[in-house]
Symmetry: C2
Subunit: 254 residues, 2 copies
DNA sequence: CGTTGAATTGATACTGGTCAATTCTAGTGG
DNA sequence: CCACTAGAATTGACCAGTATCAATTCAACG
């Protein structure tokens, strides 16, 4: 939509964006998409590839996508997962900046960028919606940077289970999650290896923090312990943070 | 600006944004700011803190800022640096999502969010500009996630020197950079420790890739080696990437 | 000069990675 | 219905890359 009016449709670099509709309803943008036919993608099918011309934006109506970037030697980073209701591929440049692949069987509604431009142009409410969503996305990206740069494997997995738990826990029992992703997906999302993810899961199980009836099913038995481990006071911080160490680093000599 | 019209000015979570004016001129938004008086900040002074009500957006006219997030125990992640011409603190929510501190003596122009709303409202060109900038920001964030999740210390530092080199190398000789940041800043940006940053610098120096007349001054002697090490084919990829390993991971069984 | 904080360097520890073997599960076909 | 197979996940043994802790050098500044 930045692309709406006077945008260089053929510039050098190139983004692509996932927009989570965070809680509050976003009827207008979604309404626009809901007039489009749905397209099906099977597990592991590619929706678009990093570097492709960004011709379309998608609304994920069903299933899960992974959004990833690759290093030339094959190392992979998953920058995020898209869940039903999320917008994917919103690009304000000419090319997608990441690859989107179906994790599960998936249904998407496609809107060509040019159509979207027309729809959004002039509708301030839609623009606001898009702005807010991108900002949330950016905020999530910064959380992830903190996780990747400064958290241990235990902390990363704890954060992951809590965060993804919130998003995924729609139709399951309160503390049960069904992870649609493979261990490799989780590893690439958390900057770890499958072995470390697996081991850490096992440790959590042995500590009684979670139960693992099978690899895809996680039952959170001690959410307190998880959120405490995840850092960031995501829930009630049982004991106050170590003020000494905080101020030692947070309070720069002015 | 998403905040322009019907935005919940008092919601729960909260972002804040840095916008780099990527290359091409962005006269309109900047013009708006240039009517504002400049405010000075001294080295290490705090501009705003994560969680503060996001009342203002800033245009950095001189100096360097670091944008950081903290874990309750004091671990710090620098999500980005802001350079002259960058917009900082653009928030589409009610609160800033990160802390902004001056790295050097700094001059900022402040625009209150409400003013900005008025200015941007109705000006499609400005909106497009903002959209594009946020998208670039998001793209950079994803690059950083790849770096933090999947690159080695050597690769991280190589990427850093090249990236920051491009942005900083304005008025210095072609391959000389003057880093305004401390080793701690660099470490917190790259998800490393000061010691590792320091050691890796020394290694690069001993390998003849860079010269270090003094800690702040880096002379890049072998940019090829750096860009090769940084991965991502940032410059001409001397030898073609190892196709075998790429396809092994990139090509999912469909 | 002496002091102070930053950067460098060194010695050692430990987290998480690598390599490899084993288990588990879901399909598949006899 | 039951081996067989293939891919995923788990587990184990070992190793490497960084972190940690500590000492030293360096430079700016009073």
């Amino acid at each position: 939509m930045a692309t709406i009016a006077p945008v260089p449709i053929a510039t050098a670099a190139a983004p692509g964006t996932t927009l989570s509709n965070s809680g509050t309803a976003t009827p207008s943008l979604q309404g626009t998409f809901e007039r489009q036919p749905t397209e099906q993608f099977t597990s592991n099918e590619v929706v678009f590839v990093e570097g492709d011309p960004a011709t379309s934006v998608f609304l994920l109506s069903d299933g899960v996508l992974r959004l990833c970037r690759l290093l030339p030697d094959g190392r992979r980073s998953i920058t995020g997962f898209a869940l039903p209701g999320d917008f994917v591929g919103l690009s304000f440049r000419s090319r997608y900046v990441y690859t989107a692949e179906a994790v599960t069987r998936t249904r998407l509604r496609r809107l060509y960028t040019r159509q979207l431009q027309v729809v959004i142009h002039g509708d301030v409410a839609l623009q606001d919606q898009a702005f807010t969503m991108i900002c949330d996305e950016l905020s999530a990206a910064q959380d992830q940077m903190l996780l990747l740069g400064r958290k241990t494997a235990r902390e990363r997995l704890a954060s992951f289970l809590l965060t993804i738990g919130c998003k995924l826990r729609k139709r399951t029992r309160p503390n049960e999650l069904i992870l649609p992703f493979s261990r490799q997906d989780i590893a690439d999302y958390l900057g770890l290896t499958i072995e470390t993810v697996s081991r850490t899961m096992t440790i959590f199980r042995k500590e009684g923090i979670i139960d693992l009836p099978d690899p895809q099913r996680v039952i959170i038995q001690d959410p307190q312990a998880l959120s405490h481990m995840a850092g960031e006071g995501e829930q009630e911080p049982a004991d106050p943070p170590d003020i000494m160490r905080v101020s030692q680093r947070a309070a720069w000599p002015s």
